[in-house]
């Protein structure tokens, strides 16, 4: 859909705090409601926000979903994508040949059987021989974070967390909030910018071999607390802006809009697909990273600004050397 190529040198390979000591030392490209672009630093985010504006953040915490299993003599990598119940997960089997009929064997004597297809190909549903806290304990003991090929170092799980993540469940980091430090959040608070939280447990964003999730078939668990819904409505009544930190927040909040166009508290799973034809009603802006051309996250951005303008902005970002992906630079888009 979007034709551009991210050169290798613009793949962020190292977290900012390992390069500059602080996670908030990344760049910020801001696009205002008139589509005019400003190049800035993320630490100067306060210059683009006003007292009374509300930042909505996803406080889902990343779990380590990559597990090693075996079937007979064969080693098989399993990537968990979405929890379905106490002992069932949708998962990607990152391997060409494996049998759906034979149990997968993991460490500690844990087993899993495939009991059906997942929400979309190639996901399958695995039922584990243990469940609840014991299964989570097992996942933490043996799992690794998802590391895509542009990351050369095996960074630990804590590298894939936001500072405020506190509800375990995402298999990939809700990365738009990664650059926030508590110090920056404190600075924004002192300026009168408010914060609120939702949870959306992000599933896998890539199925390997050029296969990408399609949002309509990619349900994700989410919750919008009452306090957050109240703050959003208060903010809008006061004429201030609601800024979603990340596409996961847009997805959750738009899923919680009632027929009167108001955000209300909600909990469940969402299949919502936000793209060019979708009218955003819950938020006035989006803070996000830079996305790959194939990613559905990028399609979501066209609900915030026309595709042509978005592509112009992305061209500019490439020229200016902004960094892509989860450790990369930030992009603020105001409607």
């Amino acid at each position: 859909m979007h034709a551009f190529t991210v050169p290798d040198e613009l793949n962020a390979q190292t977290p900012a705090e390992q390069v500059h000591d602080r996670r908030d030392q990344v760049r910020l490209m801001a696009i205002d409601q008139h589509h005019s672009i400003t190049h800035s630093r993320f630490q100067e985010l306060d210059e683009f926000l006003s007292p009374g504006d509300l930042l909505v953040l996803n406080n889902s915490r990343t779990i380590p979903p990559v597990l090693q299993a075996s079937q007979g003599n064969q080693s098989i990598e399993i990537r968990l994508s979405r929890k379905r119940s106490d002992d069932q997960w949708e998962a990607l089997v990152a391997c060409d040949f494996f049998s759906l009929d034979t149990p997968l064997t993991f460490n500690d004597g844990v087993e899993a059987v495939a009991i059906g297809h997942g929400s979309e190909h190639p996901l399958i549903v695995l039922e584990f021989s243990i469940g609840g806290s014991a299964l989570l304990d097992f996942i933490y003991s043996h799992g690794e974070p998802v590391r895509y090929e542009y990351i050369e170092e095996p960074f630990p799980l804590e590298t894939y967390q936001t500072v405020y993540g506190s509800v375990p469940g995402s298999v990939e980091m809700a990365s738009a909030g990664r650059a926030f430090s508590w110090q920056l959040l404190q600075k924004l608070k002192q300026q009168g910018v408010k914060t609120a939280f939702i949870q959306l447990h992000a599933g896998l964003s890539y199925y390997e071999k050029d296969r990408w999730p399609s949002p309509e078939q990619h349900p994700e668990a989410f919750a919008v607390p009452e306090e957050t819904a109240r703050l959003i409505e208060e903010t809008r009544r006061a004429g201030n802006r609601v800024i979603a930190v990340g596409t996961t927040v847009v997805r959750a909040l738009e899923s919680a809009v009632n027929p009167h166009g108001e955000v209300e508290s909600a909990e469940g799973t969402t299949n919502l697909y936000v793209d060019e034809g979708y009218t955003i009603s819950a938020v006035d802006g989006l803070l996000t990273g830079f996305h790959e051309p194939e990613a559905s996250h990028l399609h979501m951005l066209t609900a915030f600004l026309p595709k042509k303008k978005l592509m112009n902005a992305y061209r500019e970002a490439l020229l200016q050397g902004y960094l892509w992906h989860e450790f990369g630079d930030m992009n603020l888009i105001l409607k």
């Binding site: 989570l136 933490y140 799980l157 939280f197």
Partner: protein
Amino acid sequence: MNKKTAVITGASQGLGKALALAFAKEGYALGICARGEERLKDARREVEQLGAEVAAVQADVTDSKDVERFISIVEDRFGRIDVLINNASTFGPGPTLLADYPAEEFRDVIETNIMNPFLVTKRVLPGMLTRGDGSIINVSSEVGKYGVAEWGAYSVSKFGVEGLSAIWADELEGTGVRINTVDPGEMDTVMHDIALPDCDYELAQPEDVTGVFLHLAASDDNGERYEAQTFDVKGASV
């Protein structure tokens, strides 16, 4: 999910276990951990017998991976953590002059006793800060305030814990999250036997000193230091 949750490290014996039982009696759900699995299982059974829900996780809280696993399991099970008591610590060798103290053991004690409250607090804080509420209690010692011969690296580490509490209390001011320090005083525990093997006077029992912890769990105090054995339930620390 409305039930309050307390997390206690090093909860399989001594003060940690007494605290787990005291908080269970007060209706808290509990997240407890210890390095030794057998003793932890026993503690879990005793807590459950009081009718409390408990997530008991075998974990070494000086290891950030174990801390992540432990706290995430508790958050997943109970949805929130209201109270954290950083109780786990190690004494190192018994009475030893600093001049005789083996350097490796010194390093181990300092790392264990200072890193663990840092790591666990850092991991628990996001949930507390996003809710704007929470109470963290660091267990210190009289020798965290006064230098006493032969208390070695343990004493030095507790001076560090007191500093950690003081700095964090200042940084958390106004957030709704409180951090305080408790000196439980001398108690009849395995650790005390190691510190003072020839002790010939009567000692308090761990269950006698839990009142101040229950008080701090619910109070607005921040940056305070309480001595458990002179604590008055009416709120005064002598």
